[in-house]
């Protein structure tokens, strides 16, 4: 089966009004934010190297690790299925979803896009609702996602408003015509409607979606999620998100189905300390995602479907196997000039951009996507940005060679071989050039030249080649030397500016191959890392407070550090003034399946470097006080502060060995948020709108914080 050639799809996408503008605006914004953030992370390059090493290591030991993972999961009562094809995976999941009856909610999963899961569920009569805002938007529009982490990146706020109007009856603002009127394709002007108006609409639409989806969450019997990582050592399912929809999907329905590619395996829990620092920065330009769920619990109804679908074959491919180390951050899409012009749908599969141009041929077959490895100008921006150091553009070059070997890339082969033959001697080049000079004025409109002349003039050769110039110059001697119409210089004059030469920091000629002077930069970065670590260690409370404040740009976070329990209680009293008892849920109480105004919890740890709060949960549904609430109040003792993510994972390992912690931890880094419509930040998404952290020097239980005596 052959797809529509990428060339034709791309040409159509380029011509599609505003598409490239929309994708450019969103990707450029993310790339800039990410660059600022990376500049603040001194050990970024060493993190990338470690990530590559540990991902390759997991790949090498994949069989052993897979066995271990399956054992750990089965010990906890989970069923595990390894599916080799889309069909196998769909059959397994449809069976599981039908068994419970009722609604299915689902969080973002690229593997599910890969296997066409939603179509399979619908064909079997199962209603499935996507819960990530971007995914929900494209589901409403009956489209596929066009980006790994920003599914609706190809839609403007106007587009989204029209979709919501049509599908959910949400009124269309006056300034949006019901049908788009495309501007001329040549304009790259920013949208006419002022940014604040657009942002305000993006906010309204995001909140409307929250309202609609809330009912689906509460009604669902089955939740389907993907997994960002699967830890073999502990059988932990790791899920990152910002909206809170994944937490709701894993907490509320009775049955939880996990669908993940087998390449999501990592060996050890401590590996997460590296990967969880790289992924949010690369994916959404955040130091940490809002929620990181670490699920290692004995769940009564957990089913894990591991998707192979070409992964084992790719793992055995010595040249290209590192494609399986990809952590699906989407950073290579954001920097790709081709992706920015055509968006994700042009690639004809679940994955887009440089990684899509590589994975689709491997997963679907090279013959199905013979154009994709060529869909790159080889600018190398993808390889430069990849957080796990995959040299993506080199992998594309290798696939091109394979396509040629297998006879799939014939169209340019003949021309290029002719060119190669001309390049065997200067005289052949000269003949070809004379011919070109002769025919150039005539051939512009002929089909043979159209691959160049669509939008471009044919290049003008110079009247005299360099070669001819050089020969003439050598004949006449150097006194005739004249370039750019200037006077010749007196022989032997060295026009080096002596002062500036003296001022050169690297004025001496170097004998060896030049390298970018990285030594001093590396030292500098190491110093910065040390400084950062020392600063956090010296004053973890200030470090936490400043990071936590950043998580609520419009005052959605508040931090208090008090000496006494009385002061803490006074702050809580002020917060809860006028609240009804039934609108407040305190950690330890049995939650009802409904929304509360306030949730009060403790914290198992606080992470100074990210402003994160760690919750340790005995049961998944005990997440309600931190999730189905408007304001989440956290009370903790300063001794709970840890410096950073690696310190947290060390602590988690110790606590779990000693049995001090339960089997579900959630890292909460600020109130829930989304930026799925034109990258406009909206707080809240599906979780709390506001977070208050009260750090109290005296020991204090959450129950003691509320003014009612019945709790705690």
């Amino acid at each position: 089966m052959s797809e529509k050639p990428f060339r034709r799809v791309a040409a159509a996408k380029v011509a599609e009004p505003e598409l490239g503008d929309k994708v450019h605006r969103a990707t450029v914004r993310t790339v800039e934010k990410r660059a600022h953030l990376v500049a603040e992370i001194p050990d970024w390059e060493s993190l990338r190297r470690r990530a590559r090493e540990l991902r390759l290591d997991a790949l090498d030991r994949r069989e052993k690790l897979l066995d271990r993972l399956v054992r750990r999961l089965e010990e906890r009562g989970a069923s595990v299925t390894v599916a080799h094809s889309s069909e196998e995976a769909c059959v397994a999941i449809v069976r599981l979803a039908r068994h419970t009856g009722g609604e299915v909610i689902k969080s973002k999963s690229m593997a599910s896009e890969e296997i066409g899961l939603n179509a399979a569920l619908e064909a079997a009569g199962v209603t499935v609702t996507e819960t990530d805002l971007g995914e929900w938007i494209v589901q409403q529009a009956r489209q596929a996602p066009s980006h790994i982490t920003a599914p609706a990146i190809h839609l403007s706020v106007e587009d989204v408003a029209r979709i919501f109007h049509e599908r959910a009856g949400i009124p269309l603002p006056d300034w949006i015509p019901p049908h788009p009127s495309p501007p001329p394709a040549t304009s790259y002007r920013p949208p006419a409607t002022p940014e604040p108006v657009r942002q305000s609409l993006a906010r309204d639409l995001s909140l409307a979606a929250r309202g609609i989806l809330r009912e689906r969450f509460l009604a669902a019997r089955t939740g389907i999620t993907g997994a960002n990582f699967l830890v073999a050592e502990s059988g932990t399912v790791v899920l990152l998100e910002n909206e809170g929809n994944i937490r709701l999907t894993t907490c509320l329905p009775r049955r939880h189905i996990v669908l993940a590619g087998v390449e999501k395996l990592v060996a050890r829990d401590e590996d997460l300390a590296v990967l969880l620092r790289l992924l949010p920065v690369s994916a959404t330009a955040q130091r940490q995602s809002c929620y990181v769920s670490l699920l290692a619990d004995r769940h009564p109804d957990l089913h894990v479907v591991l998707l192979d679908r070409g992964r084992t074959a790719l793992a055995a491919d010595r040249e290209q196997r590192d494609l399986l180390t990809c952590i699906r951050c989407g950073a290579c899409l954001n920097v790709c000039p081709v992706y920015r012009c055509v968006g994700g749908h042009a690639y004809g599969g679940a994955y887009a951009g440089p990684i899509g141009a590589l994975l689709l041929p491997h997963f679907d077959g090279l013959e199905r996507h013979p154009d994709l490895p060529f869909a790159s100008s080889l600018c190398g921006a993808c390889s430069e940005t990849c957080p796990v150091g995959i040299p993506l553009h080199e992998r594309l070059l290798e696939l091109r060679a394979r396509l040629v070997e297998r006879g799939f890339a014939r169209d340019l082969g003949w021309t290029m071989r002719r060119a190669a033959s001309a390049m065997r001697s200067p005289s052949r080049i000269a003949r070809a050039l004379s011919l070109y000079r002769l025919v150039r004025p005539l051939v512009g409109g002929l089909p043979v030249a159209r691959r160049w002349t669509a939008g471009r003039a044919l290049p003008r050769p110079a009247r005299e080649t360099f070669r001819q110039w050089w020969a003439r110059r050598t004949d006449r001697g150097r006194s005739q030397f004249s370039v750019l119409g200037q006077q010749p210089e007196p022989a032997g004059t060295l026009n080096r500016n002596p002062e500036s030469a003296a001022a050169q920091p690297r004025a001496e000629a170097r004998g060896s191959v030049p390298e970018v002077p990285r030594g001093s930069e590396t030292e500098n970065r190491e110093l910065k890392t040390e400084n950062r670590v020392r600063r956090i260690a010296q004053n973890p409370i200030d470090a936490f407070a400043s990071r936590f404040a950043d998580l609520g740009p419009a005052g959605e976070t508040a931090f208090h550090h008090v000496a006494t329990a009385a002061e803490a209680t006074a702050i809580a009293g002020e917060l809860l003034r006028g609240a009804e008892r039934r609108s407040v849920i305190v950690e330890g109480e049995e939650p009802e399946r409904r929304e509360y105004a306030f949730g009060v919890t403790g914290a198992a740890a606080l992470i100074a470097d990210t402003g994160g709060v760690v919750l340790d949960l005995r049961r998944r549904d005990l997440a309600v006080p931190s999730l189905l609430v408007d304001t989440h109040v956290v009370v903790a003792h300063p001794s709970r502060l840890v410096a950073d993510l690696p310190a947290f994972f060390r602590m988690r390992a110790e606590k779990r060995v000693r049995g001090d912690w339960y089997d579900v931890q959630v890292l909460v880094t600020g109130p829930s948020r989304t930026a799925d419509i034109e990258k406009t930040l909206v707080i809240p998404a599906h979780g709390p709108r506001r977070m208050v952290v009260i750090l109290c020097d005296e020991p204090l239980q959450p129950g003691n914080l509320v003014p009612w005596t019945d709790s705690g």
Partner: protein
């Protein structure tokens, strides 16, 4: 030290001034260059098209022709990137590949020169080609050289680090896309309205010139960085 001049095939035919200017800059600094007349092409077009055998043949040819020299200098980050970063996959690690330099990195890293005494009055936008930037890591060298040109002001634009959209094979395999990348690259540049668009790579300029030519934009002129470094005050012809 015997220094050979490597003139990429399209520079020879379409922008010979860049090569002549390279000769002038080097000779001014007391470096005598030789031009091995048998040279043709580095093989990048074939390599990028997936024709490894054809590329290998041209790579062998290149390393043989340039073997007698202590250094090879060429006015193209793209071709030098091909030689230094990709020849190993065709002909194995080869000393000639490691002795091949793009003009700017040769000046700054090998000769230790940042101010070549160039003079050019006006404003420019600088496009450091993608391979110069990412495969050779020579952006700083180019920026320092251009920054030291007397009278020349550099205008930063949003698209400074963007690809021009040429990409060799890419330009003919996906013409609509290639032109679109070029137009998006050019748009902020045209808004900044510099006197010149300066690049390390004649191939990027060739592609962009052809787009400007077709759209009838006459206000922006392109210059190879070697032409800028060779300028002595008179606006280049």
């Amino acid at each position: 030290m015997r220094v050979a001049l490597f003139v990429p095939c399209f520079v020879d035919a379409f922008r010979p001034k860049a090569a002549a200017a390279t000769v002038e800059v080097l000779e001014r600094l007391g470096v005598t260059v030789e031009f091995p007349a048998e040279q043709t092409c580095c093989g990048q077009p074939q390599f990028n098209a997936g024709l490894r055998d054809d590329a290998r043949e041209l790579a062998r040819r290149f390393v043989d022709i340039f073997a007698p020299y202590d250094a090879v200098v060429g006015p193209s980050g793209s071709c030098v990137g091909m030689i230094r970063r990709h020849y190993a996959s065709l002909v194995g690690e080869h000393p000639v590949a490691q002795r091949t330099f793009e003009l700017c990195e040769f000046l700054v890293d090998r000769l230790g020169v940042v101010d070549v005494g160039a003079k050019l009055q006006g404003r420019c936008v600088l496009h450091v080609g993608c391979h110069e930037r990412r495969e050779l890591g020579a952006t700083a060298a180019v920026e320092r050289l251009v920054g030291a040109v007397d009278g020349l002001t550099r205008l930063p634009v949003d698209s400074d680090e963007w690809c021009c959209g040429f990409g060799g094979t890419f330009a003919v395999k996906f013409p609509e896309l290639s032109v679109e990348l070029g137009r998006r690259k050019l748009e902020p540049i045209l808004r900044a309205a510099p006197d010149w668009l300066v690049s390390t790579d004649a191939s990027c300029l060739l592609h962009l010139d052809c787009i400007l030519d077709r759209t009838g934009t006459k206000t922006l002129r392109t210059l190879h960085v070697a032409e800028v470094l060779a300028a002595r005050g008179e606006p280049p012809a």
